[in-house]
């Protein structure tokens, strides 16, 4: 099962079992060491606190907004219509039938509870996860489009296109994402939102500055991958397509690109996995993605070990999911 089978003598019979055991023992050792190390600093693990940041029960109360008498209660499926008759005014409330605490002819004052209901709500961690997923998904799509267009411009013989592509790629690759994020939000964002305000338009939500900076950052790397992919397709393919009478763009789109993309899928997957992880920086411009939420939750729960482990696992699920999708695409491309 090695990359170069048959170059060395066959392994001894227990080779596989022995090293598999070494691997398993090391993993168990690392986990055990971590566990006992936390014992020595008196850290109390409370994994059950994690749960409420995924889902919790909220008590939803319906309160009266006027003073008066409950004139009638009409059941209507799961909810009931409570009619409160005050002096010169009347109100109707939809109250869950099961949670009703008033009866007909009861007198209620303002702010009195008419009924309550327990409802499941998604917790902060899930909200953070969803935002991270949303930001990453939009950025991946944008980065792919930017990357393909820039990659094509990079190999164009039009100097304006080629130099624009080179300038963009070198600029973006030459500074840290964190710095670019600051530039986009605090410099460009401020200028742009001011302009919009001057024209009487509403300002662009912060999240879009995050998405744009992520997409442009990843797009520059994607462009170089795309260019390498295009160049790896034999020139004979382009010549064959063109000698059939196809135009450059037709040949590029139908013959070169499909082959290039399927070759660069593993590299693209790596780039987009980086993008998901880089989205953790968006917290600095107060976008409440997974990492920022985890920081908030740690402050509230005082259980940093559990929260950060869960946070890492959630990122792992996202990135692993992406590589599964890409592996599937790779298999169907062959």
């Amino acid at each position: 099962m090695s990359l170069y089978p048959g170059l060395d003598a066959p392994r001894s019979k227990n080779y596989k079992q022995f090293w598999a055991a070494v691997f398993c023992l090391s993993i168990i050792g690392i986990i055990a060491t971590t566990f006992f190390a936390t014992k020595s600093i008196d850290y109390v693990w409370r994994w059950n606190t994690v749960v409420k940041y995924f889902a919790y029960q909220d008590n939803m109360e319906t309160v009266a907004e006027i003073e008066g008498i409950v004139a009638s209660i009409t059941p209507n499926g799961l909810t009931s219509n409570v009619h409160v008759q005050g002096v010169g005014e009347a109100e109707d409330y939809q109250v869950p039938t099961k949670g009703l605490v008033v009866g007909v002819n009861d007198y209620v004052y303002m702010e009195d509870v008419l009924g309550s209901e327990k409802k499941w709500k998604v917790g902060l961690m899930v909200l953070g996860l969803i935002l991270t997923l949303k930001v990453s998904a939009i950025s991946v799509v944008l980065a792919l489009i930017i990357g393909i267009l820039t990659g094509l411009a990079r190999i164009s013989d039009n100097p304006a296109l080629r130099w624009t592509a080179i300038t963009y790629i070198e600029l973006v690759r030459g500074s840290p994402l964190l710095v670019q994020l600051m530039l986009w939000y605090f410099v460009i964002g401020t200028l742009f939102n001011n302009l919009l305000a001057a024209w009487g338009l509403s300002s662009i939500p912060t999240i879009w500055y995050g998405v744009v900076s992520l997409a442009l950052f990843t797009g520059a790397y994607t462009a170089e991958i795309v260019r390498a992919g295009i160049q790896s397709v034999h020139t004979g393919q382009m010549e064959a397509a063109r000698s059939l009478g196809m135009s450059y763009s037709e040949a590029m789109g139908k013959v070169i690109m499909p082959q290039a993309i399927s070759r660069i899928l593993p590299a693209l997957a790596g780039q987009f996995i980086s993008l998901i992880k880089d989205s953790s920086l968006l917290g600095v411009i107060s976008i409440r993605e997974l990492t920022k939420i985890t920081r908030e939750v740690v402050t509230a729960s005082l259980q940093p070990f559990e929260m950060w482990i869960v946070c890492a696992l959630l990122y792992l699920i996202l990135t692993f999911g992406l590589s599964l999708i890409v592996q599937k695409l790779e298999r169907s491309a062959i």
């Binding site: 004979g236 397509a241 063109r242 000698s243 059939l244 009478g245 139908k254 082959q259």
Partner: protein
């Protein structure tokens, strides 16, 4: 059908090279012209200039009356009329055999899917591999791949077919099947320009043979002329080496 007059081609990379020197050639409709010559003599370059895969800076080339070197010429139309078969087949590996043949029919010739498929199946029948229409080209032998490539070119209903050493990349036992397809095309009156080292093919099928050396056309004549009493000394040396 093809008129090439004093075609000159230079390469500047890696160093300046005068690859074609005043090459002139006229091919009549239905004629089969075979180009022979030592490696590096400019045969491929000349052939590739004919459908502008290489741009010849100097000279005049017309195909079926259309000027190839005119910058304003509709080169895609000219190329669609000028099929090209490569030494390395250059089939599209991400498409099936059938799609290889229908793709340009649909996008360039604007045929309907059904028309294109019918035509492709008819051509695959003709080159003898209809039963392989749904497989990927990589599953075919070299000889079969080259026959698919010929069918792909024929699907455009070209007026001329250019072959650049179509059998040089093949195992010896597969050369025959490709040459047979080409012989049949010649019999049907296809206009063909063939660069090849297959002297048997040249002798049997060619109406005219052209010998190139060092970027220039040195000698031109019927196959009998070439294989019985070639005039030029360099032609004699070359033929002695390979026959």
């Amino acid at each position: 059908m093809i008129v090439a007059t004093n075609v000159n081609k230079y390469f500047y990379v890696p160093e300046e090279l005068h690859a074609l020197k005043d090459a002139s050639l006229t091919v009549a409709s239905g004629e089969v012209v075979v180009i022979i010559g030592p490696s590096g003599s400019g045969k491929s370059t000349f052939l590739r200039c004919l459908n502008r895969l290489e741009y010849a800076e100097k000279g005049e080339i017309t195909i079926d009356g259309m000027s190839v070197l005119d910058p304003k010429a509709d080169i895609n139309k000219i190329r669609a009329e000028t099929g090209m078969v490569f030494q390395s087949f250059n089939l599209f590996p991400h498409k099936t055999v059938l799609e290889n043949i229908t793709m340009a029919q649909i996008s360039v010739r604007k045929r309907s899917k059904k028309e294109a498929v019918d035509k492709a199946m008819m051509l695959l029948e003709k080159v003898g591999i209809a039963e392989k229409h749904h497989v990927s080209p990589s599953k075919l032998s070299g000889g079969q791949q080259q026959r698919v490539a010929i069918a792909r070119s024929l699907a455009m209903d070209p007026k001329v077919l250019l072959f650049d050493e179509p059998t040089s990349a093949l195992d010896p036992e597969m050369v025959g099947e490709v040459l047979d397809v080409m012989k049949n095309l010649a019999k049907e009156g296809m206009t063909m320009v063939v660069v090849t080292h297959e002297m048997g093919f040249a002798r049997e099928v060619a109406d005219r043979v052209i010998f190139m050396d060092d970027g220039a056309i040195i000698e031109e004549g019927t196959p009998e002329h070439f294989f019985t009493n070639p005039e030029n000394e360099r032609t004699q040396t070359f033929l002695n080496q390979i026959l």
